[in-house]
Structure formats: structure tokens, C-alpha cells
């Protein structure tokens, strides 16, 4: 019997797969009603068992459960055709925050020193307070997407949405970190190019 965390994990993966399909340029040009049908189809295909496991479970085996940040970004893509909004336009601020955090977190978790920042995610009061303080500061700065991601990630962590008991796993994952770092590098190299 599956645990609830397996279902939430697969939901995250299928959300990402749907968002990736919707990012294909030729697909983006399809009419809105076709996009909705296509999204539904991607969800359905992702959950059809192949050799005993849903397709999404193979992806989950490789990448693990996706952070709430990744799922929020995926749903921003999925909902874009039916909910055009300018209120979540600060995506670059969020990705900058993710990239900077990833540069600090991932090398340290590979054993560079005896200090392990990942440990902070196990209910460290100072760390949790800092995350929430950034969320509140982002609200005052009108960085709505950062507020949404941090609030939902913290709530998901408190509710045990995934198997992980570590807050870091709800905040970011290697996929969104790679995407954010790639985007950051692309933007910086563009600035360096002569006009």
C-alpha cells in the first residue's frame, strides 16, 4: 500500500513533466483548450504503469521528491495559459535566491568540512526563523513568488508533505538549483557581451 508521501512525491514529478512538455515552443503555440487536454494527458501517461511502475516513479527514483519551489514554478507554467498574471513576475529574484543558496549548500554537503548546513534543516530554530524572516521581508519587498514558495515550503514541511523531515528538501532541489544557476550564468554572460 502506498503512503501519502508517495502520492505527493509523484504529484510533484508529474507536475514537472507536464511543465516541461508545455515549455516546448511548438506546443506553446497551441490553442488554450488543447494545452489543457495535453496537460491532462501528460498527467495520465506519467501515472500509467510500465513494467510494474508508473513512468513518474522511474523519474522519482532518479531525482527524488521535488522541492515545493520546483512544484510552484512548474504550476506557474501549467497555469499560465488560463491565468495570465503580472503579480508573480519576480521569478528572477526567486531564482537568484535559489542559486545563491545552492552555491552555499551543495558543496558543503559533499564533505568539504565538518560543518554540514543540511543539518540545520532538521528543526534548527535559528534556521527556520531565518527562512520565515526572509519570507516576511520578501512580502514587504513585494517579491510575491518568494513569499509563496517559502510559506508553502514551510507549511509542507510542518505537515510532513514528503518523506523528508528536513526543511531544505522543501526549499530547493538540485533540479531547480541547476536551472537557477544556468539562468544566472546566462544573464551574466549576456551582460559581459559588447553591445
Amino acid at each position: 500500500m502506498s503512503h501519502l508521501t508517495d502520492l505527493t512525491g509523484l504529484f510533484g514529478i508529474t507536475s514537472l513533466l507536464a511543465a516541461l512538455v508545455l515549455q516546448v515552443p511548438r506546443i506553446q503555440r497551441l490553442p488554450k483548450r488543447h494545452l489543457m487536454k495535453l496537460t491532462t494527458a501528460v498527467f495520465a501517461v506519467s501515472l500509467i504503469p510500465f513494467f510494474g511502475l508508473p513512468l513518474a516513479a522511474y523519474v522519482r527514483g532518479m531525482v527524488g521528491d521535488l522541492s515545493i519551489t520546483t512544484v510552484v514554478l512548474a504550476w506557474a507554467v501549467i497555469l499560465k495559459p488560463c491565468w495570465e498574471t503580472t503579480e508573480f513576475k519576480q521569478r528572477d529574484h526567486l531564482l537568484m535566491l535559489v542559486a545563491l543558496t545552492a552555491i552555499f549548500l551543495y558543496p558543503m554537503t559533499l564533505g568539504m568540512s565538518l560543518v554540514d548546513p543540511y543539518r540545520l534543516g532538521y528543526s534548527n530554530r535559528v534556521f527556520v526563523s531565518c527562512v520565515l524572516a526572509i519570507g516576511i521581508a520578501a512580502w514587504f519587498l513585494k517579491s510575491n513568488l518568494i513569499v509563496l514558495c517559502l510559506a508553502l515550503a514551510t507549511l509542507a514541511w510542518t505537515l510532513g508533505w514528503y518523506e523528508s523531515t528536513n526543511l531544505w528538501d522543501y526549499l530547493l532541489d538540485p533540479l531547480v538549483a541547476t536551472y537557477a544557476l544556468g539562468l544566472l550564468i546566462k544573464q551574466e554572460t549576456r551582460k559581459l557581451r559588447p553591445a
Binding site: Y118, G135, V147
Partner: protein, 429 residues
Amino acid sequence: MPSRLVNLRGFLLTLILLACVAAAYKLSRHTGPALLQIPAIAQSNNNAELTTHFVSSQQNISTHAASLIELKNGSVRAFWFAGSHEGAGDIEIRSAVFDGRQWSKERSVINREHTQQALLRYVKKLGNPVAARAPDGAIWLYYVTVSLGGWAGSSLTTMTSRDEGETWSAPRRLITSPLLNISTLIKGTPFTYSDGTIGLPVYHEFLGKFGELLHLSTAGDILDKQRLSAGKAGIQPVMLIEDPQRVLVLMRYTGAPPMRVIATRTEDGGQTWSAPLKTDLSNPDAALGGVVLPDGRMLVVANDIEQGRDALSLLVSSDKGVSWRTVYQLEEQRARPGTPDDFLRNTTKLALSTDAHISDANVYAQSVQRNQCVAEHCAYEFSYPYLIQTHNGDFHLVYTWNRSFIKHVQFNRAWLDARMKERSDVAPH
């Protein structure tokens, strides 16, 4: 200002404030660090006794990484992994029970297919199993699973048994790393804290190679993770708990020569750890096993050599791990590589000396030849020791015997004391 935007801003403020309240509630329920617990051990009978057996009996397969747990009736249950070869998809976790005289027939506990069905994610192979006893009496089995790449891509999976290992719950995944949850492996003996929570010595192998300590709640959730070493030098920590405050951790050395066991120590119940240092114990990049006796002496089983795994020693330290004295040579085949025929003959003798009751020692030797001979070169391997002391004071040791079988050595305190007396003239190192 459009009302839709005001509504969104209000919604986000409510959401972040709700997150604050929920986080405060969760943090208020988080338990602090607990003291380490020393198991109660009785004095065993006075007749010096050492017996050896084979735990596993399957022929012509690869067998490795055994661990033990004492059952409520005083029996001992072993777990190990076996399959066509290490890393194969047909590897399964197997188990057998020792009733004090002989081992039961081995049987499968879990395989790759059942694991991936239960975890709802692809699993490529299984690895090291280690069991722990929870305060409610349940046995928690932790085992390595790999979905991506080699052993460096490992994650931990766990399942529980409420009938001493006869039946098991569905496996569930432990999330221990932010990097695709890869590279947490297990080998060392778990221990309990005074509040019933479980300590699990684990290690990391992707790029860095270092020891870690997981602290799990009675429900099996991870409460904390501590790093015991850094860089690329030490894995497979073994906790030698002297008292509720003091612990010596020995680790397999994975760095450059000279090859020595790595050690770190705590004097405050695991709040802080000393910088890892090399000890005087040789180590050929191989696992160790160990326990602390009620009188404070430390007992370690290790390949106390710089190369190969063809010798296995039982060592004692009476000075809290500063110096070590070999009290018994469990295996010694350093001078006997030989041709495949010599290897077959010698392995047949070794199999018989391990367990005189086996009727097919030659078949045992052929299984070993299959795993340990490449062309004209054969190599002995005695590795991955796992040592426990049961409540009656007896010691039980299991280890990989030539990658083909699991060997069990049982001895008591009287035997150990007699060996120590005999070897008292040997210089410590």
C-alpha cells in the same frame, strides 16, 4: 490599487503568518539531544568456549555484508545480501536465526522488485542491511538501495517487524541528503539513546567520503544528522560507547598511505566531536566491527593489515582505544595465494574447519573459487565484520567469508579472558 492585487497580498501575508505558527508548533514538539545508553550485559558461563558456523548455505552466489541483532528469546538473527554478483538486480536481503546451537534455514526478507513497488520509485540494486531494536520492541531493518549509478548513489530504506523478523512492514525511504538523496550507506551497529530514540552510524561516498550519525525518533523519522569526519578519509563508522558521555568512533580508512584506522571521539554525549585522527591500527580500506565490554575494554575485529583482506584479527584495547593488542587471529591466509587447484584444496579444509557438520565442503570451496579466482589468480577475503555482545554476555561475530558465505564465530567472556592472558606478552600497537 486593484482589489485582486490587494487580495493576493493579503492571502500571501496570511500564508506566511500561518507558516510561522505551524513552524513554531513543530519546533516546540522537537525533542532535544538525549544521552547515550549502555546495554545491560550479564556475565556468561565460566567455560571458555568458541564455536564457528556458516550462517548462509546458498552455493554459487555472491554473499556479503552481514549484520546481527539479538532476539527477545536470546537467539540471534543475521541479515546479509546475496545474489548472482554484488550490484546485480537479483540481490536480495536474506536472513537466518541462530538458536544457540545451529542456524536455521536462510530465507529471503526483501528483494529489489518488492522494494521499488513499495517505494513507488525505480530501484536498481540492494546493499548492506543493518537492524536496530526500537523501545517498543519492534525491529527496524535499514538497508541500502541504489537507483542511480554505483554505491555512491545509495539511499537508505527501512522496514519494521513486530514478530522478531518473521514478517515485515512495507519498506519506506529515509531522506538523508539534499543532493537527489544520494550517498548515504550503512554498516555500523545502531545504538539507543536514553529516551528510546535510535542512533544510526552511516557514511557518505559521493565525491567526499565521510562518516555521519543519524538520530531517529521512535517513529523512525530523522531528528538530526551529524558529521563525524570530512574530506575523503573515513567511512563506515563503528561506535564504541564507553559511557553515556564518552564514545570512540573508529572508521575505515579510504585515504592515501599509510593505511590506518581513523578515530574521532566525543566527551559530551555526541554534542561535539574531536577532529578525526589516524590511530595505530592498520587498515586496508576495509570495514571494522567492535563492542565495548562492561569493564571498559574495547573489542574490535579488523583486517589489521595495510593491503588485502586475507587476514582478520580480534583486537583488544584496555586503554580506551589508545593501543591495541591482537588476542586471536580469526583468519590468516596471507602466505597462501597459490594456483586455483591449491586454492580449492585449502578452501575445502577451511570450510570443514569452520563447520565440521557440512557434508559438501568441496562444493563450498567451488563456490568460493567461482567468486575469488580470476584466470590463474585467486584471493582470499575475510571482510565486513559485525560484532555484538548479547545480554547473556556471549559475543557473536559474523563476517563475509570469501564473498561466498557468511561465517559466524561465537565466543564467551571466559574464552576472551583466557586468550588475553595467553597473549599478554604480545606488544600492543
